[in-house]
């Protein structure tokens, strides 16, 4: 018994396709459609936003420096030092961040509070807090290491290009002058002053549960 052979016809091109002319006109029609769409959008200013509307017809690129893509919340930008309610840094100079830093770009000079201050013995404060942004590799380990949410990289801004190396040494005041992407200088995590009776960690000790 002979095998059944299914003969498949070779795909052929029609005369219109072979003459190029029809196909070229079709191609021109397609590009013209895009041209008029793009022109009308740009002239009327109704350009779709490719971030929120990625499948929209027409212009699909950002007008970059004028329009910018919003960064994700977790995007790592320039560091900032978060504030307490009284405007001092939340940093307690525990040196966790400078220890975790693989580029060794963070320098902290810790200081003790005065003898009669309730915070003495409870925590320290940074006399100096310096980040060399040229050494920084923006890995975010400092943010991970920080036990009290004092250093964050949620400013949403790039490290700007500056014209001399000294300008890249950011000190405490400078780091505290940056706001987060939400525009505030705080973080959402609560801070508890020494002797705070509302501290959740002592609930169970008080027998609440």
């Amino acid at each position: 018994m002979t095998a059944k052979v299914k003969v498949i016809k070779k795909p052929t091109r029609s005369l219109a396709e072979q003459s190029y002319v029809v196909e070229i006109v079709k191609g021109l029609g397609l590009t013209l459609k895009h041209f008029f769409k793009g022109t009308s959008q740009l002239a009327s200013g109704n350009k779709p936003n490719p971030v929120t509307d990625p499948y929209a017809e027409g212009c699909s690129t950002l007008d970059y420096p004028d329009e910018q893509r919003a960064y994700a919340d977790r995007w790592r930008g320039v560091h900032r030092l978060t504030h307490r309610d009284d405007g001092s840094p939340r940093c307690v100079a525990c040196l966790c961040c400078s220890t975790a830093c693989p580029a060794q770009c963070i320098y902290i000079k810790p200081g003790e509070y005065p003898v009669d201050d309730p915070r003495r013995g409870y925590e320290r404060y940074p006399v100096e807090f310096v980040i060399d942004e040229l050494r920084c590799i923006f890995c975010g380990f400092c943010v991970e290491a920080c036990p009290c949410d004092a250093i964050r990289m949620d400013t949403g801004t790039h490290m700007t290009a500056l014209d001399n190396r000294a300008s890249f040494i950011f000190d405490k005041e400078m780091l505290m002058s940056f706001a987060g992407q939400d525009g505030t200088y705080k973080t959402l995590n609560d801070r508890h002053e020494p002797g705070d009776p509302s501290h959740p960690g002592v609930d169970r000790m008080r027998g609440g549960h």
Binding site: V21, I24, G27, L32, H34, G38, L42, G58, C59, D63
Partner: protein, 381 residues
């Protein structure tokens, strides 16, 4: 006296417009390609004035480009041919500018009759002819043949540039440019023979007159129009036919070794060629300054059951020139659109298209036109 003054003004105007058109087309090309590729396109260069930044939708980039080209280092290949290297860009840009010399861009203007309705008797009135200005720099008897001769000279620039650069890529580009342009020159010339047979002339202004009296060339010679337009695009050495430049194979082809203003001359020469080829197609196939229902007297709607709206002679001439410009602009737009729509042909495909398709098709067109004309003449007795 009037002849010389008007000739000088016309030459200055046309050369000025063409050279500036190169800069404008650079912008059109960038912006148009951006629009059709769903991009925003150039928009950053700006002129700071009165505390504002004028961007003009990216047009300023052309100015910035021009300034950049002037200030770039004028580098020359050490072992190249110094003289040929310098004159090649000049040879590349001058022929496309010269082509416009024979292109009629409007009906003859009779200066003493600007406000009156056109009267065919003026054309034979010696006094009126003496005070008339032709909308054409010169009406050479050889007409289109002049165009072929000068356009053919353009290839010398590309070939010399490839030779004088002392660079293998340039030489390959020059070779390709020479072979491609010579091949398409033939198809281009032959495709017009059918048109010559119908128009019974090679003078462009008479061709336009025939088209005004009868019908546009595109309807009388549709095949010739397609062949000629294809060959004209090939002559400009732009994208579907840009193997001489061939970025992916030859760096930049015959102008690889050129920098600064010399490179600019090659680039603007190409864009000027786009303008001139559009103007030639307009004059030969699209009725020149003519529009349907437009005559030298005014707007003729009698065929639609309307009446003849007479217009002053000056207005008709102005309308004619604007018609010509409009048709050129549409054709230029179409050429740029083709440039950004079609991919580049392979070198052998270009040669095949030129010699095996366009050339035989042009010959067929010549024979068909001749046969039809013979029958028509025979039937008229």
């Amino acid at each position: 006296m009037l002849f010389w003054i008007s000739a000088f003004i016309k030459i200055a105007l046309i050369v000025g417009i063409l050279v500036n058109m190169a800069a404008i087309l650079l912008w059109v090309e960038r912006k148009q390609s951006a629009m059709m590729q769903d991009r925003v396109g150039p928009n950053r260069a700006a002129i700071p004035l009165l505390g504002r930044r004028f961007r003009l939708a990216g047009l300023v980039h052309s100015i910035a480009d021009g300034i950049k080209m002037v200030w770039k280092e004028d580098w020359e290949p050490k072992n190249g041919d110094k003289l040929l290297y310098k004159i090649a860009p000049i040879i590349a840009i001058v022929p496309p500018l010269c082509l416009f010399a024979v292109i009629p861009y409007g009906p003859t203007l009779y200066l003493k009759k600007l406000g009156e309705t056109y009267d065919p008797a003026w054309a034979t009135d010696a006094e009126q002819v003496a005070s008339s200005v032709r909308m054409q720099i010169t009406d050479l008897d050889v007409g289109v043949l002049f165009i072929f001769a000068v356009a053919g000279a353009g290839v010398i620039g590309a070939a010399l540039a490839g030779w004088a650069s002392n660079n293998k890529f340039s030489l390959m580009g020059g070779l390709r440019a020479a072979s491609q342009m010579v091949s398409y020159e033939i198809a281009m010339g032959l495709s017009l023979v059918g048109a010559f047979m119908i128009y019974q002339t090679v003078q462009l202004d008479q061709m336009v007159e025939w088209q005004v009296a009868h019908t546009w060339g595109i309807f009388a010679q549709p095949l010739a129009f397609i062949l000629f337009a294809t060959a004209a695009i090939a002559e400009t050495k732009r994208v579907p036919f840009d193997v001489p430049e061939g970025e992916s194979e030859l760096v930049a082809g015959y102008f690889t070794e050129y920098a600064g203003l010399k490179f600019g001359m090659f680039a603007s020469g190409e864009l000027v060629e786009v303008c001139t080829s559009s103007a030639i197609v307009t004059a030969v196939f699209l009725g020149g300054w003519h529009m349907p229902f437009m005559t030298l007297q005014g707007i003729d709607l009698t065929s639609l059951g309307g009446s003849l709206v007479t217009l002053p002679h000056g207005v008709v001439v102005l309308m004619g020139v604007l018609n010509f410009v409009l048709k050129c602009v549409v054709l230029i737009f179409l050429q740029l659109q083709i440039r950004w729509t079609l991919p580049r042909f392979r070198y052998d495909q270009i040669m095949k298209l030129g010699w095996q398709i366009l050339l035989p098709a042009a010959l067929v067109n010549v024979f068909a036109t001749g046969t039809v004309l013979l029958f028509l003449n025979a039937s008229r007795g």
